[in-house]
């Protein structure tokens, strides 16, 4: 294999790692906040924590309302990513390979759902989910988040699929592959990087969404981001606990991207079939 993959300027790597360092500053700052007691955060400015404590982490993992909402978020987010992907795959293939009545309008209409202003959708969502029994369930949140994740998934997959020459489909058809068999045996492995990217984005957008998830849940499926808003008490904001929760919310996503990293990085098998 060649070692090129695009030549980069000699200083590109240095600049890149400088960027990463800048990017990490607020996160390291947040981590620093999570391992010091509240009084030290508000007391005076100090770069390095004066007193290191892990009490905040202990609180997080012993208080049921914290760790259960953490699990809730993981459950509905994973459910949403898988459901969105399954629904979006055939649709993206249709958009990238066929012309059919109303295709462009439909594609654009899908995109517009990505920009529905959530603030005014809350009331309708609340009423509908209560009347169909999806209120405060993991499935309910997963379905609600499909509103913006399915269009996104269709869109990303369509973009990647259109990058794959149609000759591959035709060759497979000549070789006697049926559409479903071709799709699963040949096409899906070719777009695995797109699937990785899509899963990651669905996971991410569902994970960080707060407004809708909070409105259609109360206890059983309450998301972690909603629990975080609870840290504001009469005594002020519990910054340290908030920072702790913030640090921990990054962990599942970091694990997800670590697992899909190869699919993002490996690229397509263009021209290899």
């Amino acid at each position: 294999m060649a070692r090129t993959t695009g030549r980069r300027l000699p200083w590109a790597r240095t600049v890149f790692w400088l960027y990463v360092a800048t990017l990490m500053l607020p996160l390291l700052w947040m981590f620093g906040m999570s391992i010091r007691p509240n009084e030290d955060i508000l007391g005076s400015f100090s770069l390095i924590p004066q007193r290191v404590t892990f009490d905040n982490y202990v609180t997080f993992f012993t208080d049921v309302s914290w760790y259960s909402s953490y699990l809730n978020s993981i459950i509905y987010t994973s459910l949403n990513a898988v459901m969105s992907l399954i629904v979006a795959l055939p649709a993206a293939y249709a958009f990238s390979r066929f012309r059919f009545a109303g295709d462009k309008h439909l594609f654009f209409w899908l995109l517009t759902n990505r920009m529905a202003p959530p603030a005014v959708f809350l009331l309708p969502f609340f009423q509908i989910y209560q009347s169909v029994g999806l209120f405060d369930t993991h499935l309910g949140v997963a379905i609600a988040h499909m509103l913006f994740n399915v269009p996104l998934a269709v869109w990303i997959l369509e973009g990647f699929m259109s990058g794959i020459p149609r000759e591959i489909d035709e060759t497979a058809a000549i070789d006697g592959y049926s559409l479903p068999r071709f799709f699963i045996r040949i096409f899906l492995p070719m777009i695995r990087s797109a699937i990785g990217v899509t899963l990651f984005f669905c996971f991410m957008f569902s994970w960080v969404e707060l407004l809708i998830a909070r409105t259609i849940t109360s206890v059983d499926a309450k998301p972690i981001a909603a629990t975080m808003t609870r840290t504001v008490s009469a005594a002020g904001v519990d910054w340290a606990l908030l920072a702790t929760a913030g640090v921990l919310t990054i962990v599942p996503g970091a694990i997800v991207i670590w697992f899909v990293r190869n699919y993002i990085a490996r690229g397509f098998a263009l021209g290899r079939v």
Partner: protein, 311 residues
């Protein structure tokens, strides 16, 4: 509403790769493809159309109680257009989105190009760059609220005490704007970088080998091989960044609450004040429908320009 859109061609995201691929790759016409799209239509109908109809309902009624409603026609729409603060918020939001795009798209592409390509450090870089995207938006707001504070935050403290510039985002409207903009760049440039990185990885190796044999410079390789191949993912990135920055709510709400004054009151902050704060569901419904239509029109323009430009 979208009449005339059928004149635009299909979405072609990549330049023709080999000579024989020229324009023979026209899509097959087949209405049975609707069966493949059906699951998406059903799922989106349940999550989008039904709530949207309820909003339309609100926008033409004055609701006193669930059983006592008066049809008011387009009154709420007139009111929404007439109010000067709505128009100011619109201009402000548009300006913010434009700045976000101007900074984040070039920066994201540059980061993607500079990213390590193989080995452990490539994976580590990917994970590190993606981290800001994984923080719930209210927490992003909280982090920056404290990070940019002049007294106890690292960012604000450094600007004031090391660089010697007076900076206070709670008092100065320019500082508040810059804080929100920097926060958005910090938060969202990784999204552009990740998409561009995935796009770059999809370029077949022979292209670079050919460029190397021809003795192309790094810039020429970027300009003539990498950039054209990125059109598809950049379309996604631009539209996504435009929509999300145009709807930005949680982060400025947490950091500045829309202030000081109205300096960072974007459209959605105004909207949710109406809908949730004052329970004016009528005006809020009308306002959000106009908002929705504006975003649709702008996105349609973007979408058409971006998907046609390469033809």
């Amino acid at each position: 509403m979208t009449a005339g859109s059928q004149v635009s061609g299909e979405v072609v995201t990549t330049a023709p790769a080999e000579p024989q691929e020229t324009r023979t790759d026209l899509k097959r016409k087949d209405n049975r493809a609707w069966w493949l799209v059906l699951p998406v239509v059903v799922s989106v109908a349940f999550t989008a159309i039904i709530p949207l109809m309820t909003v339309v309902n609100f926008s033409v009624q004055d609701v006193f109680s669930p059983s006592d409603r008066v049809f008011v026609g387009l009154d709420w729409f007139y009111e929404a257009v007439r109010r000067p603060e709505n128009r100011e918020a619109f201009v402000r939001t548009l300006l913010f989105s434009a700045q976000v795009l101007l900074v984040e798209i070039p920066l994201g592409v540059a980061i993607a190009v500079a990213m390590p390509r193989r080995g452990f450090w490539a994976s580590a870089a990917l994970v590190l760059v993606a981290l800001p995207l994984l923080i719930p938006w209210n927490v992003v707001g909280t982090i920056w609220q404290i990070f940019a504070r002049a007294d106890i935050g690292l960012g604000g403290w450094t600007i004031n005490n090391v660089l010697g510039i007076g900076f206070n985002y709670t008092l100065d409207s320019t500082d508040a704007w810059i804080t929100i903009l920097v926060m958005d760049v910090w938060h969202w440039t990784p999204l552009v970088a990740l998409l561009a990185y995935a796009g770059l990885r999809s370029i077949p190796e022979p292209y670079f080998q050919a460029a190397q044999i021809d003795g192309a410079s790094g810039w020429a390789t970027f300009r003539h091989i990498q950039l054209p191949r990125l059109r598809g993912v950049l379309t996604i990135a631009i539209l996504l960044r435009f929509m999300d920055s145009f709807m930005i709510y949680t982060e400025p709400f947490v950091v500045t609450g829309g202030g000081p004054g109205n300096a960072t009151s974007f459209l959605s902050i105004l909207l949710s004040k109406m809908a949730v704060g004052q329970f004016d569901v009528g005006p809020a419904g009308a306002f959000s429908l106009i908002y929705f239509l504006i975003v649709q029109v702008l996105c349609y323009v973007f979408f058409t320009v971006l998907t046609r430009s390469g033809r």
